[in-house]
């Protein structure tokens, strides 16, 4: 078990990896289409709500020391609830991973491999997952911690590299479509913080469980910074009325960067880094899916499952017929799916478990009397 323990910094990177990978595909686009020029303000607003929710999750998890949501659901409703919760979260991780993978691969096809079948672009990712799933959890996290700084640098570089091309008037009107769309219906943009789902599963892996508060808050704050950088780059660079339908908007943004006459088209290098990031994301979601499955089936070893989950992701990723179906699912269904599972269902389970615990605590002193 010591082999699977991670430090608080590694845990933060794990959570932020989930945030970041969505920004590489169409997340900034979805945010922009919802709240237009008010996206930055909206992001700060939903970011603050996400920080509060992360704090709530920390408070709710605090009473259960090193238990994750699966253990907590067992405590709440026995094996039946544990299996239901586990199944829902496995489905959540698999579906979001396959959707993200398919979306990214469609982007890769448009950018680099226009004549290639999507199947051939998906297969290398699945092969890498076969390898990484055989390795230990701590090595997976270490891999992510080596790749993560590169991604961080790439986004910051993208922002400052494009700084000269920004049109700051695109921030106006500041409230976009209006106050209601920005602050009331715009609250739906909280789906961007789906990485919070990792917080439910991290406690058993922590070397220092008392650092949970730091992990919850830091990861959401860093994620928010990322979103701001990415969204600002897209918002200030493109007229969202015209270019918001780009396949990979950050990739398109990268093509505007120029350094002298030698470095004129650097987007492929950015793509190289983002491929690593998407791979990291898939590693994390796969490991969590395997870990949940192990818990609900009481399996001792993870290696027999190493090939099953990547194949599942592969299969589901192939289900949508074309890119427009993926875009439709992404903007109309997944956002609610994420909000329902991560922010409603997860918190509800933790809340009920806390109530049960509180009740037990209040019953115990009476019994002793």
């Amino acid at each position: 078990m010591t082999d699977s323990k991670i430090t608080s910094k590694e845990a933060i990177m794990l959570v932020v990896t989930i945030f970041v990978s969505h920004t590489i595909v169409t997340l900034p686009q979805n945010l922009l289409s919802n709240t237009k020029s008010a996206t930055l303000i909206n992001l700060i607003y939903v970011g603050i709500i996400a920080i509060l929710l992360a704090y709530v999750i920390y408070r709710l998890l605090k009473n259960f020391a090193s238990l994750d949501i699966i253990d907590i659901s067992q405590y709440l409703g026995g094996s039946v609830l544990k299996t239901i919760v586990g199944g829902i979260f496995i489905a959540y991780f698999i579906v979001t991973s396959s959707n993200l993978l398919r979306e990214f691969c469609e982007g890769l096809r448009v950018a680099f491999f226009p004549m290639t079948n999507i199947l051939s672009i998906l297969v290398p990712f699945i092969l890498v997952l076969f390898i990484t799933n055989y390795l230990s959890f701590s090595s997976n996290v270490k891999t992510i911690s080596l790749i993560f700084p590169l991604v961080l640098i790439s986004i910051v570089f993208l922002f400052f590299g494009n700084f000269g091309n920004f049109s700051f008037e695109r921030m106006f009107p500041v409230l976009g479509k209006g106050f209601v769309d920005t602050f009331i219906t715009g609250i739906g943009n909280i789906f961007a913080f789906s990485g919070i789902s990792c917080l439910y599963f991290i406690p058993p892996y922590l070397k220092e469980p008392n650092q949970m508060k730091k992990i919850c808050l830091s990861s959401v704050i860093i994620g928010l910074m990322y979103f701001l950088f990415c969204t600002a780059t897209i918002l200030l660079l493109f007229s969202f009325f015209v270019d918001v339908d780009e396949v990979l908007p950050l990739y398109s943004a990268a093509s505007y960067i120029e350094f002298g006459i030698f470095f004129q088209r650097l987007e492929s290098f950015f793509m190289l880094i983002w491929i690593l990031e998407i791979g990291s994301y898939l590693i994390v979601t796969n490991r969590f899916s395997i870990s949940i499955f192990q818990k609900i089936t009481n399996l001792k070893f993870h290696k027999p499952l190493a090939m099953i989950f990547p194949l599942l992701i592969f299969g589901i990723a192939l289900l949508p017929k074309n890119y427009s179906i993926i875009r439709f699912l992404e903007s109309n269904i997944y956002a609610y799916f994420i909000i329902a599972i991560v922010f409603v269902f997860g918190i509800a389970i933790l809340f009920l478990a806390n109530l049960k615990k509180k009740k037990e605590r209040s019953v115990k002193p009476q019994k002793t009397q």
């Binding site: 990484t132 891999t143 987007e267 990291s280």
Partner: protein, 572 residues
């Protein structure tokens, strides 16, 4: 040849007799019988009191009738005036005959006055008289003790009652003395075989460091290490490996620094090797590392005693194998393969500069050809238009696809490198020049490869030479081909995913319980370890992942001469 003979040869047929040797495999019964026989022979046998029986046994064991270098010298030994039959067993060419004659045969055979005194064999130690009764404490004469203490003016002598121990040392160059009536034999060190003297390191050349390298003799190597460490806490344990060769291996560590669990683990692995022979440190390395499937080296191999000593003082364990001029250091981390002993001898800014260069060299050596293939096949937009035109123009006459072109050159380069190592040393550099200049130039002229590719392969080759560790450089060379294929198949997608898998495997690899990537995570500070060196006065701690018994290397203020006004307790 006369006419008749010619006619006979022409018209007569004589079947040609062919010599045909075939190695037939022994039947299963024969093999099992042989194994039984060997097992019986390997059973521990004690030395007999009868010299004749011992002599017969020794002769049969060493096959002295057919073994030309086994010498059995029979003679008569004189001890306290009495004569005993004895014989010496040794191997010709492995002993120093001068030492043998002057310090063994001469004192045992020649008559000296003290040795001739043969009065009472028993010696009275003390005597007391009480009530007219005399009580004497008498020490009985012991021939073995007498020979050991009085007749053997030799510094290293052992007494053993088992043949196996005696034979083991005779095989190492000692001589054995068997004496009639004694059920023990003397093991006398008279080693004197020819060995290579200490020379300059050939593969780990430094500018400012020591110029001594390990040799094949294990005792010389241990002395070199001990001279550098110069502390009584340096422990050099002897472990024999190999059922046939019984190769001596030295397990070296500093008792007060090295983690006990680490030392126990290394000892455990060494003691549990069931093999017939062990002839080099390279073989030992493969036998003790955690994972042999991946080619990433997991131990540090060095020919420099100062480097080995430096690692010992960090709390690591050094292994020496008799017959191998290389030491193995465990555990190893990734950054060790990019460090040289000279790094610590140079100013920090200089060493950090070359460390950057080595990172670049590693990157180029592993990825440059793959990146070139990926860019040429999928990502041409990365190149500026002028450069792209010139590359396309240079490739215009080349009839092959880029993958064929690069493999052709890479394999040629590997061939040149391999040939340069195998051919005699005066011709080696010539092969390199001929290969690189003439073949390269001709290939471009013939339109087989493009000039840009020559530059790419040359830079890659030079970069691989800049990687200090040979095994690590080799590892990069092998993986480079994988990245070439990935780059050709999927461009940056292949390179990126290959890199991800490579990093993941690297992070999972362990060397004696320590992750190979310890200390390289940019967001995780490892106390006492960083690839880039701090100024020497700031190198206060040993690497935390080693969990050494003593964490501090030096005091907080090591250059006390600079702060004479500070109190002693403030400097700690």
């Amino acid at each position: 040849m006369n006419f008749k003979q010619i006619l006979t040869d022409l018209f007569t047929y004589t079947p040609q007799e062919e010599y045909n040797f075939e190695l037939l495999r022994n039947s299963t019964n024969d093999t099992s019988l042989e194994n039984e026989k060997l097992k019986k022979e390997n059973q521990v046998k004690n030395i007999y009191t009868s010299l004749r029986v011992n002599l017969e046994y020794v002769k049969s064991k060493y096959n002295s009738m057919i073994n030309s270098d086994i010498i059995v010298r029979e003679f008569t030994l004189i001890a306290r005036g009495k004569q005993y039959s004895a014989f010496l067993l040794y191997i010709d060419g492995m002993i120093d005959t001068d030492i043998m004659n002057r310090f063994i045969i001469e004192p045992l055979m020649l008559r000296s006055k003290s040795n001739l005194y043969g009065n009472d064999q028993n010696r009275i130690i003390s005597e007391a008289v009480a009530n007219n009764i005399t009580v004497r404490k008498v020490k009985k004469f012991n021939l073995a003790d007498y020979i050991m203490n009085c007749l053997m003016p030799q510094n290293t002598v052992g007494q053993y009652s088992e043949f196996s121990k005696i034979f083991n040392d005779v095989n190492s160059g000692n001589c054995a003395l068997f004496i009639d009536t004694l059920n023990v034999a003397f093991d006398i060190e008279v080693k004197g075989f020819e060995k290579r003297s200490i020379e300059k390191p050939e593969n780990e050349i430094v500018i400012k460091g020591a110029h001594e390298a390990f040799v094949e003799n294990i005792r010389t190597n241990t002395s070199l290490v001990r001279r550098s460490v110069h502390n009584e806490n340096l422990i050099i344990e002897n472990i024999q490996i190999g059922a046939i060769t019984k190769t001596s291996c030295a397990l070296c560590y500093v008792k007060t620094l090295a983690n006990s669990d680490l030392v126990s683990e290394v000892r455990y692995r060494l003691n549990n090797l069931e093999i017939d022979s062990m002839l080099s440190s390279g073989q030992l390395e493969q036998m003790i590392i955690d994972d042999n499937l991946i080619s990433i080296p997991q131990t540090i191999s060095t020919e420099r005693p100062d480097k080995a000593a430096s690692y010992l003082l960090d709390g690591r364990v050094v292994l020496l194998v008799n017959g191998a001029p290389y030491a193995l250091v465990v555990p190893a981390v990734y950054t060790d393969f990019l460090s040289t002993p000279d790094d610590k001898n140079m100013k920090t800014s200089f060493s950090n500069f070359v460390k950057w260069i080595r990172i670049l060299a590693t990157f180029l050596s592993l990825l440059l050809p793959g990146l070139y293939v990926a860019i040429a096949s999928f990502h041409q937009e990365l190149l500026p238009t002028d450069l792209l035109y010139s590359i396309l123009a240079s490739r215009e006459t080349v009839p092959f696809p880029v993958i064929f072109e690069i493999l052709l050159l890479e394999i040629s380069f590997e061939l040149i490198r391999e040939a340069g190592i195998r051919v005699p040393s005066p011709i080696g550099p010539t092969i390199g020049i001929v290969g690189a200049l003439i073949i390269g130039q001709s290939a471009v002229s013939a339109g087989i490869v493009s000039p840009v590719l020559i530059i790419i392969v040359a830079i890659t080759g030079i970069a691989s030479f800049a990687v200090p560790d040979y095994s690590f450089s080799f590892h990069l060379r092998v993986y480079r081909f994988a990245f070439i294929f990935l780059g050709y198949c999927c461009g940056f997608l292949g390179i990126g995913l290959g890199l991800l898998a490579y990093i993941a495997v690297l992070c999972d690899t362990k060397s004696f319980g320590i992750s190979l990537t310890s200390g390289i995570s940019p967001l995780q500070k490892t106390v006492g370890h960083s690839y880039f060196l701090q100024p020497i006065w700031l190198r206060e701690f040993r690497a935390s992942y080693l969990d050494a018994k003593k964490e501090e290397k030096q005091e907080k203020i090591s250059m006390k001469w600079k702060y004479p006004f500070l109190k002693k307790e403030d400097t700690k």
